[in-house]
């Protein structure tokens, strides 16, 4: 038990360095399109990420096909297939691509899921009306971590 507590302490110390604050969309630091630091300090939940691939703000399979999700209908063809992305990209790169793919691929059609500024005529969700106040990102910081942790399970 003592050993587990120590390990937990070490993990916590690594996962939550100095401050455990959530990194705001405007404060995310990209290097070559990648984001090294966890947005939350809390490890992503691959099971929650798997759900986000299909439902709600994630809706990744609208554009991407994923064999692991083939029980769900209607995978899109607009983006590349995601099988094996856990081998092709590092965690930091996947975090960068999910947060704001335009950092790595400037002309990509992919929406920026963790960005809140710089839009043309931003709307109030899907009402067609103008946005009021600050925009919320399409995914929360923890949802980004969850999706990234799921993508990392997609090995060849």
């Amino acid at each position: 038990m003592k050993k587990i507590l120590i390990i937990t302490g070490i993990v916590t110390a690594f996962a939550l360095p100095l401050n455990a604050e959530i990194i705001k969309p405007v404060d995310v630091s990209f290097a070559d399109g990648a984001v090294e630091t966890s947005l939350t300090g809390t490890p992503g939940d691959p099971a929650a990420g798997r759900v986000l691939m299909n439902k709600g703000a994630g809706n990744c399979i609208a554009c991407h096909a994923v064999t692991d999700l083939q029980d769900l209908p209607f995978h899109g063809e607009v983006g590349p297939m995601l099988d094996g992305v856990g081998d092709r990209w590092s965690e930091a790169q996947l975090r960068g691509i999910v947060s704001n793919a335009k950092e790595m691929f400037p002309d990509t059609v992919m929406p920026s899921f963790y960005r809140t500024t710089g839009f043309i005529r931003p709307g109030n969700a899907y009402t067609g009306k103008a946005a009021e106040g600050d925009l919320e990102p399409l995914l929360t910081a923890q949802q980004v971590e969850d999706v990234v942790s799921y993508l990392l399970t997609l090995k060849e």
Partner: protein
């Protein structure tokens, strides 16, 4: 086949993508009432400069057989009920002057053969779409109330007049007085609106033929508008469809009947120059 498709097929061959589902337009022929042959693929207009490859396709070619069938016979076409109602309205006096459309247009709607194929157009320095012509004549000549832009009375009338051009090639002018409006519409077409940052071109130029969720992306042609949309079970105006698309990018959209949408309508119509007018088309 365009370059994008060639790349995709190359990628499939290389085992990078699943081969299933990669599909462009189908090969079906659109013959209405067993007599009217509509051109659903023609050489792309020169102004596109190859943006859609060498060929442009009607959206009809991207729909399921079941949806396509509804446009093959006017008795099956659900839009025709609304068009019939518009024909009644055409002959019914309305407004303070006691006139109907037919009071002046004694030749009936047939007088307008060819008109819709050339719309929108610039009249007296202003870019005008069919809804503008209908409402200005109602107000100025008939003394009648204007019709609501996307209401079924208006869109039925737009469709009735469009039907007179069915089978004729879309041929909107983009030069001369129309040029600045066309440029405005073109800029809108390539602007990535909203929090999703999607332009018309992102889907209908870069990804036509691809699936986005359950939807088979077409080239976004408007030669069949007003279109009976099964999802909404009514005739849908061009501006209503523009509004819906921009809304779905999580953007503040533009209003139906706005000058912005008039310009966009001109530009999008010009991308279909050469396709047959299909009005009233049926889509999913």
């Amino acid at each position: 086949m365009n370059k994008f498709k060639a790349l995709l097929i190359g990628a499939c061959t290389a085992g990078l993508l699943p081969a299933a589902g990669v599909a462009g337009p189908d090969d079906d022929k659109l013959m209405v009432n067993d007599e009217l042959d509509l051109a659903t693929e023609v050489a792309a207009p020169a102004h596109l400069d190859g943006a859609l490859g060498s060929t442009i396709y009607s959206g009809w070619r991207f729909r399921t057989d079941e949806t396509q069938a509804l446009q093959l016979d006017d008795f099956d076409n659900p839009a025709m009920l609304t068009v019939d109602a518009a024909l009644d309205a055409f002959n019914t006096p309305d407004g303070s002057e006691g006139k109907s459309c037919a009071s002046c247009h004694t030749g009936g709607p047939e007088e307008f053969a060819g008109l819709s194929a050339s719309m929108p157009k610039v009249i007296d320095g202003k870019l005008v779409v069919m809804e503008d012509l209908i409402n200005s004549h109602r107000q100025e000549v008939m003394g009648a109330e204007p019709l609501k832009w996307s209401g079924q009375e208006m869109q039925g009338m737009v469709a009735l007049i469009g039907l007179q051009s069915r089978g004729m090639p879309v041929n909107v002018a983009i030069d001369g007085e129309a040029a600045p409006f066309w440029e405005q519409g073109k800029e809108m077409y390539y602007t990535r609106y909203g929090q999703l940052e999607l332009s018309c071109a992102n889907c209908h130029e870069d990804n036509w033929g691809n699936m986005i969720r359950a939807d088979h992306l077409s080239q976004g042609q408007i030669n069949g508008f007003p279109t009976y949309r099964l999802k909404q079970a009514q005739l849908i105006s061009r501006h209503n469809r523009f509004r819906g698309c921009i809304r779905d990018t999580r953007a503040e959209t533009f209003a139906e009947g706005s000058d912005e949408f008039r310009a966009l309508e001109l530009y999008v119509a010009s991308r279909g120059n050469g396709l047959s007018v299909e009005t009233p088309a049926v889509r999913q």
